[in-house]
């Protein structure tokens, strides 16, 4: 019946978000040269997905080289506790850093 046909729908490569709200994620620790949009202070940071940004978009690091098209993926707004980013953080232990990160920079934590 139609139910099993609907269940057989296959999404495009990277069409669906890899992460969901509430997922724990880690920002990759790679150190590229060239154009990047993930600040160094965040590399290796562990946080939680607050929001999945829709729609899937072109990688902004590729866009910087004039590549406006290609395989689109999702950005995620993630929150990282500020005390985990800085050794001597002065403030509340609940203070947070929120940022949009592209899917290619995130791993499941």
């Amino acid at each position: 019946m139609t139910a099993s046909i609907l269940q057989q729908v296959k999404a495009g490569l990277n069409e669906l978000p890899a992460f969901a709200v509430g997922d724990r994620v880690r920002v990759a620790t790679r150190a590229p040269i060239g154009h990047y949009r993930v600040p160094i202070y965040l590399r290796g940071g562990v946080g939680v997905v607050e929001r999945v940004i829709e729609p899937a978009l072109v990688d902004n690091e590729e866009e910087g080289y004039g590549r406006n098209a290609g395989n689109k993926r999702h950005y995620y707004r993630i929150s990282i506790p500020l005390p985990t980013l800085w050794h001597d953080y002065q403030g509340s232990h609940r203070d947070e850093l929120h940022i949009e990160i592209y899917e290619t920079w995130l791993e499941r934590a």
Binding site: Y75, L82, E96
Partner: protein
């Protein structure tokens, strides 16, 4: 940053020293000549037209903090609008006729008794221009960009804003397609005020999140 520019410093008795003021009769500087030349070359070669530039200048001139203030005031008086705004900031602004002339999205960050938001772009100068206009120099310079993500409470204190330790601070760093607007807390003693009267209280700096909205200050 030495350029001969005349900076207006609002809060510090800043000695302008070696910065020569630019007057209307000054000879155009090197970079103004470059801008003129680039624009004329691109126009001659058919990439852009003078009307493209003229129109966009008009667009920019029409975008000021008063637009953001109108959004904030509407959110304060209309809970259903506020809910829609928090769900999708760009759509909320578009409801009020504030078009977004670029591809950016907007997330509106609500300040509450437990959470205080501020926005920054550490990498460059991302800012919600369609709804706030152009950012002030201090937002684009190193001290704010470097320190807002590591010592937000100290930075806020430099603006005269004290956030108690039991209030969580959320710093949002723009790096991609999303821009932010802080929805500041509505001050006490404004019950029954019209949207217009409320909007007049809301300053640009309150929507960046570095100062609260208060009855004492006039809108910038």
């Amino acid at each position: 940053m030495a350029t001969g520019k005349h900076y207006h410093d609002h809060d510090h008795g800043h000695d302008h020293g070696d910065h020569a003021p630019i007057t209307a009769e000054s000879k155009p500087g090197y970079y103004e000549v470059m801008e003129t030349a680039v624009r004329e070359l691109l126009t001659e070669k058919g990439y852009i037209t003078p009307n493209d530039i003229r129109h966009q200048i008009e667009v920019l001139d029409s975008r000021t903090p008063a637009l953001g203030a109108a959004v904030v005031a509407r959110a304060w008086v209309d809970p259903a609008f506020k809910a829609r705004l928090l769900e999708d900031g760009r759509k909320g602004c578009e409801e009020l006729g504030i078009t977004f002339y670029d591809d950016t999205q907007l997330i509106v960050l609500e300040n509450t008794p437990d959470v205080h938001n501020l926005i920054v772009c550490t990498l460059c100068s991302c800012y919600p221009r369609p709804v706030l206009g152009l950012p002030p120099d201090w937002y684009k310079l190193k001290p704010y960009r470097a320190r807002a993500v590591i010592e937000p409470r100290k930075v806020l204190a430099e603006f005269g804003t004290q956030i108690p330790d039991d209030v969580e601070i959320r710093v949002s760093d723009s790096t991609a397609v999303v821009r932010y607007l802080v929805l500041p807390r509505r001050p006490e003693g404004t019950q029954g005020w019209s949207e217009e009267r409320l909007a007049a209280l809301v300053t640009r700096d309150a929507m960046i999140g570095v100062i609260p909205v208060s009855l004492d200050k006039e809108a910038a």
